[in-house]
């Protein structure tokens, strides 16, 4: 389809503003812009049609099954959107006097109380704008803690090799040397490997539990104890909280600080890559180190972005927690786990699960044998799913499983969707044996075929060139 710039017609516009009712003011000579930016010139119909056309070329959770592992693509309730669009939230200035923003503060306080209860934490900040941003904030808490004790020798953060890529990148952003430890074959922490690297130079450990292959690490208490005995702190990557909320709490597993992805676990929409929110919770002793806004709250403390964070995302999350409440939270988790296990059991017999055991909210298929036999890769299967109206699972992650497809159905899918999805996988399993070529070329029914990524990277074109 055409780019918006290719639809622009000189002189077209939308009538938005009234005439200026005060005297015009000129910018001083040296400060003026030389030429106007070449922004599109469009009528309102043009704008509406353009974005509607774009919108048709997007697969959202509302379009169909979206089993994208580790991303928790659950249904995003519309009531949460309605709440976040209320004028009493959208039109509030962050620097308005406290007496004018009581409702906003109550939203944050209530959400904080609820999420602390769900995670077993004592304090929480909503300043981080995303999961990775939450990790950064959480590891900074660890850093400040050691600094406050003048414990300068702790220069390392331990990260298992099954971790999300953000974990090592975060540790590096916090000035730590990353110590990767090999996981046990099931993605769980290898206690012997952990013991080998623990020492008084370790600042902490970053861990996801259930881990990135969807298995709950049953040694978790031993792991956190060992780290604590070495003087380190334990950071919980909350990407997989949907499996356990209301059932077991990171705080009770021995973690000192955590982040939650409100856009995963608490059903706020992903928006095609944000905005989300990466709430960071911590135990009492870390509370003094939580970040604050210099202008809005108090100067002198750390701060990871402007003001108090993605507030309107917090409004959505609160509406969600309010809806589910005490019983609904564990019910969601249990059904997320049930759905994953059911789907895995239905696919079993075709593509093989990497770990054939009860999983948590997600599981990994290992297509390496199938790929050897048929030449059909995990990528080919993923792309073939698109033609059935299914969003592909996460591909080639975690790195410890080869030809991996990671599926997370979430609790908001019904049995018939899971049955249908399993049938699709079954069909593709057979198709790959008879017509691998067809799958190499998938998808067949999308606006574009597989794009040439090598070309895009070798010769980057990252903006439109005007004629």
């Amino acid at each position: 389809m055409k780019l918006i710039f290719e639809k622009s017609v000189k002189g077209r516009k939308c009538d938005i503003l009234p005439k200026c009712d005060v005297e015009a003011v000129q910018l001083p000579e040296g400060l003026m812009r030389e030429a106007a930016p070449r922004l599109p010139e469009m009528s309102e119909t043009d704008v509406s049609r353009h974005y509607t056309e774009l919108n048709k070329q997007v697969h959202g959770v509302n379009c169909g099954f979206y089993p994208l592992g580790s991303c928790t693509m659950k249904y995003n309730p519309r009531i949460d959107e309605e709440a976040a669009a209320m004028e009493g939230f959208t039109n509030i200035h962050p620097l308005a006097p406290k007496s004018s923003v009581r409702g906003c503060l109550e939203v944050l306080d209530t959400l904080r109380t609820d999420l602390c209860e769900i995670t077993g934490m004592d304090g929480m900040t909503f300043q981080p704008a995303a999961g990775a941003h939450g990790e950064f904030t959480g590891v900074l808490l660890i850093k400040q803690y050691h600094d406050s004790r003048n414990d300068k020798k702790r220069t390392k953060i331990i990260v298992p090799d099954s971790a999300h890529g953000t974990n090592p990148a975060t540790a590096a952003m916090c000035g730590y040397q990353v110590v990767n430890i090999p996981s046990a074959p099931d993605g769980c922490v290898d206690l012997e490997e952990l013991k080998k690297v623990l020492g008084d130079d370790v600042a902490g450990l970053m861990l996801t539990n259930p881990n990135t292959v969807g298995i709950f690490d049953e040694n978790i208490l031993e792991i956190t104890k060992l780290v604590h005995e070495a003087g380190g702190l334990c950071y919980y990557d909350g990407a997989n909280t949907n499996a356990i909320m209301g059932i077991v709490r990171p705080g009770d597993m021995g973690f000192d600080c955590i982040h939650l992805n409100l856009h995963k676990t608490f059903a706020t929409p992903h928006g095609g890559g944000g905005p989300g929110a990466g709430a960071v919770g911590c135990k009492e002793f870390l509370k003094p180190f939580l970040p604050h806004s210099a202008l809005m709250e108090r100067p002198g403390s750390l701060q990871v972005r402007g003001f108090m964070g993605n507030f309107l995302v917090c409004v959505r999350a609160l509406a969600y927690v309010m809806t589910l409440g005490r019983e609904g939270i564990p019910e969601a988790a249990t059904n997320a786990v049930l759905n994953a296990n059911y789907l895995m059991s239905r696919i079993k017999g075709t593509f093989s699960p990497a770990f054939d055991r009860i999983c948590m909210h997600e599981f990994v298929l290992d297509l390496s044998r199938y790929e050897k036999e048929t030449g059909v890769s995990a990528l080919d299967v993923a792309k073939s799913l698109i033609d059935y109206g299914m969003h592909p699972p996460t591909m080639y992650f975690p790195l410890i499983v080869h030809e991996a497809l990671m599926l997370e159905p979430t609790e908001t899918e019904g049995k018939e969707t899971l049955d249908w999805a399993a049938d699709v996988f079954r069909k593709l399993y057979e198709l790959g044996k008879t017509d691998p070529e067809f799958m190499h070329n998938a998808p067949h029914h999308t606006p574009i075929g597989r794009p040439d990524e090598v070309k895009a990277a070798r010769n980057p074109i990252v903006r439109y060139t005007f004629a």
Binding site: I4, K13, C14, I16, C20, V22, R33, P37, L39, P40, E41, M42, L54, N55, Q57, V58, H59, N62, A83, G88, N91, I92, L95, A96, S99, R102, A129, A130, L140, G165, A169, A172, C174, E218, V248, D252, H270, G271, G273, P275, S293, L302, Q303, G306, N310, L312, T323, L324, G325, R326, E327, G328, N339, N341, I386, E453, P460, I461, V462, R463
Partner: protein, 437 residues
Amino acid sequence: MGSYVPSTEEERREMLAGVGLSDYRELYRDVPESMILNRPLDLPEGKSEMEVRNAMAELAAKNTVYKTVLRGAGAYDHYIPSIVKYIPAKEEFLTAYTPYQAEISQGVLQSIFEYQTMIAELTGMDASNASVYDGATAAAEAAAMCRDRKRRVTLISATTHPDVINTVRTYCYGTNDELLVVPAKDGKTDTEALKSMLNDGVASFYVQQPNFYGVFEDADELGKLVHEAGAMFVMGCNPIALAIMKTPKDCGADVAVGEGQPLGMPIGFGGPYLGFMATTQKNIRRLPGRIVGETTDHDGNRAYVLSLQAREQHIRREKASSNICSNEALCALTAGLYMATMGPDGMAEVANQSMAKAHYLEKALTAIPGVKLRYDAPFFHEFLLDMPKCKEIEQALMEKGILSGLPYEDGMLWCVTEKVSKETLDTVVSVVKEVLA
């Protein structure tokens, strides 16, 4: 209790049996018994949709919605065209994940490509990324991208928004790098001080344009000094001002960043906002975050993909320059939509009207005895006044449904946008007169 689980109890039993289990508890058999929460969560009972709607409306009603907002300081109350509110609420845009699967994400990818182009146009720079969290983190990421092995020190002007300085300081604390604040003189960056602080260890200098006090900095001159010392020049710009103001590119900036909230996002008690980041051709690969690139598919159709991914954390892991992944895609879409709706003339109109109205108010207020412009320099749509009784003025205006300028350092930092009518501004002046009489 509200629930979004579709399956009936009967279906759930069937599924459980299909897995070979008889009890839900068995799903959690890997979790040590001692750790399992053996009590209900201490949360209220779940609610129906209608109850939630009412409860949220009650919370919203505890806030004061002002008819007029004369407070900026990083959050700007511009008019948001109706279409800009509706389109981003379309469910596909709203609920999709990051567009890793290009074949079913061309809509999101193209919208970002268009946004990147518009940001490049607005700033005059060669390339933009797909967004970062907000203006403060954009400044911090810019500082990080300018550092190399030899040049580690970041300089930032004292005339920058305090939250931005604090955020950059925090990121520097992370990587154990030094941040030095260049002092201000008469409401602008002190060029003499900057000169004395520049040396071959300095990676970059950041200046906000217009700065926190609304004042225009002598950006060209600052840029020249920075380049003479071999460092990179980073400008944090107000995107509305950019419609009429000399571009960062023309001021010699190597990196242009800023807070994108004025481009169609509500002030929303501080977020979600949008950080924009643009740079020169030479530095594209140093940009953090996602970048959409144009390519073709096997039939030669034009196609868009997330490109240059090898810079990013999911590939480079601990060697990535930033851990950023998902950030503010829907806000970037909103900003692109806003700029397309306003067009080049509309954007200039927003900027010109905001500036004209701010100057109108400034002139009227400084005509009142005891009120004085603190920094006598060209300003955009914000200005800092020395005036007594700030708290009383705030209170008196509040009673008229007007949020006053921000009480700051024994004065008041005022901001006027195109939304405010002359009539309202006249009311403000008379209220201030009354209080100070």
